[in-house]
Structures are given as C-alpha cells and as structure tokens.
Amino acid sequence: MFPAELKYMESHEWAKSEGDLITVGVSDYAQQEIQDIVYVELPEIGQKLEQKKEFAVIESVKAAFDIYAPASGEVVEINVELEDTPECINEDPYGAGWIIKIHLSNPGELDNLMSVDEYRAKIEAEAEA
C-alpha cells in the first residue's frame, strides 16, 4: 500500500518525481486516518510553496487536515477533479487522488524526504506506541 518509487513526508504526503516536477498526494495511511473526505481546498496555479508549509486542506465529515508541501516550488497543475469528487483521495490516493504538481525550485530538497522503507518503519513504530 506504499509504492516503492515514491518519497514520503512525516506528515504523510507523497511525492513522485518526474524531472524537475513532482506530483503530490497523501498516502494510503493518511486517507484511512482522515476517512470520508468531503472537501479539498486547493491552492492556485502559480502559487509559490515552501517545503513543509501547508498548501491545501482536506476536510472529512469530522475535521479539517492541513496538507504540507514535500518541496519548495511553484504550483503548475491542480487536480480540479477533486472539487467534485474529493472522495477520489480515499479511493485511489496514489492515482486519481493526486492533489497538485509542483515545479521544483530546489530539487535537492527531495533528499530530505523518506524512502518507502523509512516511511513504513515510521508508521509501524507509531502503531506500536
């Protein structure tokens, strides 16, 4: 449930790297924790993001969750489908539930993210705590 080719954040976002672009979403673990997603507040195209700063909000029936940028850069694409079908994130967090694409201003920042093994270890450690 955690694709090996992705990089992960402690706050459960994933980033898929394609040259100097990344596609960003939230992990399967995150969507299970959030549950029943009813609304996604997206950033605007052209908005400048800073690594580890919030850029979107996912709302479930119960609460609102901030979503953090895996790396700094400019928003070049947003998943407009989420406006009408936010539940895509629950159903397909790594596919149809992607959130934005970022044009990286400092690709070296991706080195700060976790590999799938590190991310899985972190989740297992949290489950045991």
């Binding site: 549950q35 029943d36 009813v38 609304y39 909000v57 709302e59 029936v61 119960k62 609460a63 609102a64």
Partner: protein
C-alpha cells in the same frame, strides 16, 4: 491510547469489530466502525446499534427524592407518571447549564438521572451538595451498560428478542422487561431523530445483551454506530451537545430549550436568573445555519453579519442526509431570524451562510 481514558465494559468488542477508537469526554470510545457517512445512513434508512455505556446514571431514592430533583432541574418532574422520562437542563444559580439530563421515574420514590459522560463526577458532587433532606443518591454508572438501537427497524428487531409488547411504549416512556431472558430497562428515547430505544442493563450482562442485539441488527443489514455518526445524526436534529452547544456560560432560554424551563413549578436552582432573563428579553439564540458554498463550518469559527462579528459556531459538519454543510451558532436576536445572511470565517476567509429552521432533518418515520 492514553492510560487515563476510562473504558466501557464493551471496549474489547468494539476493537474486535475493527472500530477506530478515540478519546471522548475522558472515555476511550469507538468513533467509527466502517465510515461515519455509511453509519449515519444506516441509522436514517435502517437501524444502528450504539454503545453508550460512557453515559452516567445516578439513582435518587426516598421520600425526598422528588423535591431534590425538582430543585435541581428546570423541567417539571412532578408531571411524570411511573414509567415516564423527561429531558431537562440542570442549571446553576445564574442559569448556566451544569448538564442536560434525562430524568426517569420508576416510582414516586425512585428516580434515575442519565447524565453526560464528561460530567458524571461534577454532577454527582452537584446533586450531593444540594441534598439537604436526606434523599438517597447512588452513582450506578459503573454497574450500568447502556445500548441504543436506533432507526426504523429498531422496533422489529427488539420485538423479536423481548417479552414486552414494545408497540405499547410511547415516546419518552420506558418499561422493565427482558431481552433474551436478561432483565433490562427499555426506554423509547434517543439522540438521532429516528424511532429507537435505549436499553439499560446491568454491567455483568452487558456483553451478552450487546451480542444478541448486534447479531439481530446486522442480520437486518444494520451496523454498529460510532460517536462520529452519533454527532452528525444529533446535529441534523439540533439536539444540543454538552460542552459544544451548551455549558455553564449558556442558559436553556438562549439554547432554544425554553420548553424545558417550568417557570410555574416553583423555585428551582436558576429560577430567579432565568425568570429575569425571560422578562428582560433573550439577547442571543442558538440557531441553525446552512452554508451557501462548499465551506464547512466547525466549532469556534467566527460568525459575521456584514463586517460585524456576531457570534461563534458551536457545532458544524457536513450533513450526510441533506448533502449540504450545516452548523449551530449563538446569534444576537436581530440577526437570528430565518433567512438572515451571515458569514462564517473559515481559515481566514468568509463563507456565506443562511439562518434556517431547525431541525435540519425531519424523519419520515
């Protein structure tokens, strides 16, 4: 989960059912089993079963029981016959709400208060501190499991398992009987707006009664329901949640609970303050509103009329039954009328909303 949280006698059953557990009012409770929306819809269209054993039960007995309760609560308990219950706030001298409770009359000298989980200790202290004439007070919360069965198929399911003719139990009536041979109190009450029952059973038999009712519920296509759906169900009915919509800083008159304040029954704690508020005019009212865009109001979001801050959201959520986002807020009298345009500030941005009639949802049953 923190060691400080209390657990109901059914906690292991919830975990086996795969419930997601959360802290609520000092208790480790199931927030959901499948999904809040699915559970909500199961109760509205079929039936759901709830563990409410975190709620408190305080028995008050003896010749002075009635006079003590009459002093404690705002509603008129002298109207109750045996086997009837009523809903009432319990107020401070200044009219703020200590708790909202159900009062059950078993006999003229035996009553039971059902209180909110987070208030059990506070309420026990409060009741004891006003007991000047020697009523017997007993906190039986730990000895009591409370299971609710709510939804239009609750009647059919329960009737199969009990010797009591449940068609004879009116709304806010209750009876002692048996479920699957185990002695219980069956009360036609609930917090969902659907037909339903709340079943009180001695803790020792709690698991057995849950298992019987749970099996009957799932065989009808119903589900166990967590606190998440309990919250959206009650919000659609504008049933107040203590700690969100009402507390010691709000009065029953402000909360739209004026029908529970029996001014003519004689003196009770808070009667002077509430009489004064009633005469001077109630300056703010708990009102329902509907969001006019996709914004979701949540507790503590600020409410504006034009550019003027006029109040704060006390509860807010998407309504699974209505498909729009709803909430409650205290609004000044002049901005509390139906169709009044208000704005709710969500993450720094104002979203349009409109004051609407409540309950938001009306059951067709």
């Amino acid at each position: 989960m923190s060691d400080n949280l209390k657990q109901t006698p059914l906690v292991e059953i919830h975990k086996q059912l795969g419930a997601r557990m959360t802290g609520f009012g000092g208790w480790e409770m199931p927030i959901q089993y499948s999904s809040i929306v699915a559970e909500h819809k199961a109760v509205r269209s079929n039936v759901g079963i709830f563990d409410l054993s975190h709620m408190g039960e305080i028995e008050i007995r003896g010749a002075r029981a009635l006079s003590l309760i009459q002093k404690l609560v705002t509603n008129d308990v002298s109207k109750l016959r045996n086997g009837r219950a009523l809903y009432s706030p319990m107020c401070t001298e200044s009219g703020g709400i200590v708790d909202d409770v159900l009062v059950y009359r078993f006999t003229a000298s035996r009553y039971m208060l059902v209180v909110n989980a987070s208030n059990i200790d506070k309420d026990c202290d409060w009741v004891h501190s006003h007991n000047k004439n020697g009523a017997e007070i007993c906190n039986v919360s730990d000895e009591t499991v409370l299971i609710a069965l709510q939804g239009k198929n609750a009647r059919t399911i329960l009737q199969r398992l009990t010797d009591v003719d449940i068609s004879t139990i009116d709304y806010f009536a209750f009876t002692e009987g048996k479920v699957d041979g185990i002695p219980v109190v069956i009360s036609r009450t609930g917090y969902t707006g659907e037909v339903g029952f709340e079943i009180y059973v001695e803790t020792n038999y709690g698991e057995e009664v849950w298992n019987t009712l749970h099996a009957a519920t799932t065989s009808e296509g119903g589900e166990p329901i967590g606190l998440g759906a309990r919250d959206t169900l009650r919000l659609e009915m504008k049933f107040c949640l203590y700690g969100n919509d009402i507390d010691e800083s709000t009065t029953p008159l402000e909360a739209g609970l004026g029908w529970t304040v029996a001014f003519r029954k004689g003196e009770f704690i808070g009667s002077d303050a509430l009489t004064r508020q009633n005469e001077e005019g109630i300056k703010r009212h708990l009102r329902g509103f509907k969001m006019l865009d996709r914004g979701i109001a949540r507790s503590h979001h600020k409410v504006y009329h034009g550019n003027a801050p006029v109040g704060e959201v006390t509860s807010g959520a998407p309504s699974p039954s209505l498909g729009c986002n709803i909430g409650l807020a205290y609004l000044p009298t002049e901005w509390s009328k139906r169709h009044t345009s208000i704005n709710v500030e969500i993450r720094g941005k104002r979203h349009p909303a409109e004051v609407v009639a409540t309950p938001f949802y009306k059951s067709s049953n």
